[in-house]
């Protein structure tokens, strides 16, 4: 598609040895900690969110191990409640929300647009440090005795419990602003820093997805900010708007919370959709099927997601009229989502499918997201949701979306852009094995949860009635396998940085601007500012030589 003549020329010539790129152009702690370069900030995010993922994963394994026996194995009830809260809070606020926009989005989005950097680099660095501040505060909350409210902070329990709720509330507030500033930056970048010729419908779908995500981040997150502040104020000086003893309404808290947290589900999942759109196209070497429909469906999901938050509250005592409206609107989210899944499958059809590790992760995503999305439809029906609400069925459903889909898409994107970012390639055999282990482990963990959930096992239980024991044990075994797979993945990815097995200039044969810049990119991304002259995903322009030219 996009032809950047000078760049293509530079590929044709023999690569110069020892070319300066963003990784080796300067050294030292402050060259990273004080950097304004979007790629370095992205890598710092990558390290941060990976640590959060491993911490959250560790909490998850503790939860699963504890539930091996009906009476619980490892902890007392209070400790168990703290551990599952930590798992939720770390995974949601420190990993899933910032993971893809913060790391891959930061690195790839300006490259895809042909920009030198994001529009507001200082704000970008501030976002990262706000994330760090949030992470420190969250850790501080653990040190101060932990918190046991669940990641949802439902009032009035969060107002009464004798734990570090104010500290974690502050952490969430700060993380919220980190997320807002990231989104704000990407919106401005997309509007103002597109390369000449990069029209809206020549933008790669990853950019569209991040753009839609950013709208949600900017418009929804402030309401979470004020909600956690109000919870903190309630605890500090008893406003009384959430506390029923003082005339407040706990259901109002749920409205405020889900006004953010439902769109937040799409803040999490839309970037994953974007990654999958890219990868399906590149690794099938075929233009994405229904490009415009996918682009618009991202925006549609973003808008509709503001109208459906009440479906988290079908049993909460909101009025039947509100339930009617929210359920009706909820089903409309299914349509753009279904369009995306069908379009990806149609893209694979008659493609040239490379079964390399990024594509394997992508295929795993397509299968798992199909389950995650379809079970969401089951939960959208009002009467069925009354039975399934707050059971392990819901737990399994959102793990299929959050963990199975988002984390797998994140892994897929990581494998895809790893050679682009670092100029090195990981052990492909190990990668395929790890992908298989993760896929099997994941399904083994959560399919039993679907079954016990539909039989009535409530969530957030430290102990349970004995009839659910076989399902919990199967789930625990699956979680161990899943944990092993992720550990293997971390191992070979880190090892590849030391082995330094050189990647190709254009490892997978991509034709978007991110693959037409030098690998790894120089400080301002392109040797010459690119100009776009062709349509997006036009594989007839692919220069096969670049797939064979090792990076300098």
């Amino acid at each position: 598609m996009t032809t950047n003549v000078p760049v293509i020329d530079s590929h044709a010539a023999a690569p110069q040895a020892g070319r300066k790129n963003f990784l080796n152009c300067s050294q030292g702690f402050w060259s990273w900690a004080g950097t304004l370069d979007h790629k370095r900030i992205g890598i710092m995010y990558l390290v941060g969110v990976s640590i959060a993922l491993l911490a959250g994963g560790l909490f998850a394994l503790l939860v699963r191990l504890h539930l091996w026996k009906p009476e619980g194995v490892l902890f007392g009830n209070v400790e168990y409640n703290q551990i599952f809260t930590l798992h939720g809070a770390f995974m949601v606020f420190l990993f899933v929300i910032p993971a893809i926009p913060g790391s891959l989005g930061n690195i790839v989005l300006p490259l895809m647009l042909g920009a030198k950097d994001v529009a507001l680099p200082r704000l970008n660095l501030l976002s990262f440090y706000l994330w760090v501040t949030g992470a420190v505060l969250a850790t501080l909350a653990i040190v101060l005795g932990g918190f046991d409210t669940g990641w949802t902070f439902y009032a009035p329990y969060s107002l009464y419990t004798d734990q570090a709720v104010v500290t974690i509330g502050l952490a969430v507030f700060v993380l919220g602003f980190s997320s807002i500033f990231t989104g704000l930056n990407f919106i401005v970048t997309t509007h103002k820093l597109r390369a000449p010729g990069m029209t809206w419908f020549r933008m790669p779908l990853f950019v569209w997805a991040i753009y839609a995500t950013s709208i949600l981040q900017v418009l929804a997150t402030p309401v979470l900010g004020i909600t956690v502040l109000l919870v903190a104020f309630e605890r500090l000086y008893h406003i009384g708007i959430f506390d029923p003893r003082l005339g407040g309404d706990p259901v109002l808290f749920e409205h405020f919370f889900w006004f953010y947290s439902h769109p937040a589900v799409y803040i999490m999942v839309l970037p994953a959709f974007g990654i999958i759109s890219e990868l399906v196209s590149v690794h099938s070497r075929k233009p994405l099927f229904g490009y415009k429909l996918i682009a618009f469906s991202s925006l549609a999901i973003a808008i509709i997601s503001f109208l459906v938050w009440g479906h988290h509250m079908f049993t909460s005592g909101q009025s039947t009229y509100a339930m009617f409206a929210f359920s009706f609107l909820t089903f409309f989210v299914a349509i753009p989502t279904a369009i995306k899944e069908f379009s990806w499958v149609a893209t694979v059809w008659k493609g040239s499918i490379a079964l390399n590790s990024p594509m394997l992760y992508t295929l795993a995503f397509l299968v798992i997201f199909a389950i995650g999305g379809l079970t969401g439809v089951i939960l959208g029906a009002l009467n069925v949701d009354i039975h399934l609400h707050d059971t392990y069925f819901v737990v399994a459903h959102f793990h299929y979306v959050m963990m199975g889909s988002i984390a797998l898409a994140f892994f897929a994107g990581l494998h895809h852009w790893w050679p682009k970012i670092f100029g090195v390639i990981y052990d492909e055999t190990l990668a395929k094995i790890a992908c298989g282990i993760i896929f099997v482990g994941f399904n083994a963990t959560f399919i039993p949860q679907f079954i016990m959930g539909s039989r009535g096992m409530p969530r957030r239980y430290a102990t349970y009635v004995p009839e659910y024991e076989p399902f919990h044990q199967a789930s625990t075994v699956g979680a161990m396998v899943l944990g092993g797979g992720v550990a293997l993945m971390v191992f070979y990815l880190v090892a590849s940085l030391f082995q330094r097995k050189t990647a190709m200039q254009n490892q997978w044969g991509g034709v978007t601007l991110d693959w037409l810049s030098p690998t790894p990119p120089p400080l301002e991304n392109f040797d010459e500012p690119p100009t776009v002259t062709t349509e997006v995903y036009d594989y007839s322009t692919l220069d096969y030589k670049t797939m064979q030219t090792p990076v300098a």
Binding site: P287, G317, S352
Partner: protein, 351 residues
Amino acid sequence: MFHLPIQDPASATQTPAPPPVVDAYGQLTKRASTFGHVDDLFYFTYAVCIFFFVLIVAVLLFSVVKYRRRTWDQPAASNTTHNTPLEVVWTVIPLIIVMIMFAWGYMGARDMTIAPIEASRNTIKATAKQWNWTFSYPNDPAQSYNEVWVEVGRPVQFLLESTDVLHAFYLPSMRVKRDVIPGRYQTVWFEPTEVGEYHLFCAEYCGKDHSQMYAKVHVVSAAEYGARPWDKWDDSTPEAAAKSGASLYSQICASCHSVNGSAGVGPTWKGLFVKNADGSIVGRQREVIEGGVRKTITIDNDYIVESIRKPDAKKVAEEPYVRNAMTAFPDLDDRKINGLIEYMKSLADSK
């Protein structure tokens, strides 16, 4: 073993209800209420999901096998970028299907939300507090704890109230769930169709012992229901009352108050009363704070009744009890409180 609060004042231990039978399709537990539309819509949606899932996976598998890249520079077999009729079809057909699901689901939920008049006339009140359930029967002084009886084939409504935080009243076998919200009444109704014992879970996270906030639902025949099986309180003699009080203690008091003198969330019950040489049992003196004023009182029946029904009126002037708040039991009836007092007195030591 799995720990449950003890349900039956007559026996020291209680097991949860037996595992429910699985229904014919093997996914849900067997339904024991009239809400068949939940199962019907669940399996309809399930079938639709399986259809689409198989379709997606089949196309993916077929493509991966057939169109696998055999040489590294192999181009795609087709470069189609869109197909408008196909895109319209896969937009419209799912739309129609989900609208059917919506209408079906809403009608079902309406049925579950609005109780018929027979159910309203047969209303049991369920009071949720951290972490137990209290059930009050219409025009009946006796209450039951963590155990409730309903009549088979007769619609019943539960009026739900919470005295502290959010809870949820969840009966998987009946397919009903409703959050219990402090400061406000909620209702839920169903018509049990099968005699048996069923689980009642708290499904909204409510703190420490959320997972142990369990109650057993007995669906019994009309004859059995008429015998008021929930009224098992034996206070025919002071000893019997103390014994009943002891088992009630283990259900709703033991998590905070010890009887052996050890410190807990609340003060121990050991030594509230002392036995004089002549065998008479009298209350001790105790330092309390009432309305911010520190005073010394003698423990007596009135003090204990007040401490149970309005625990914050007089707070024990001692750390940490002066800070800790006790859940109030305003609905606990006089016979039950007498049983508890008899039990406290039975703990009295000789001077």
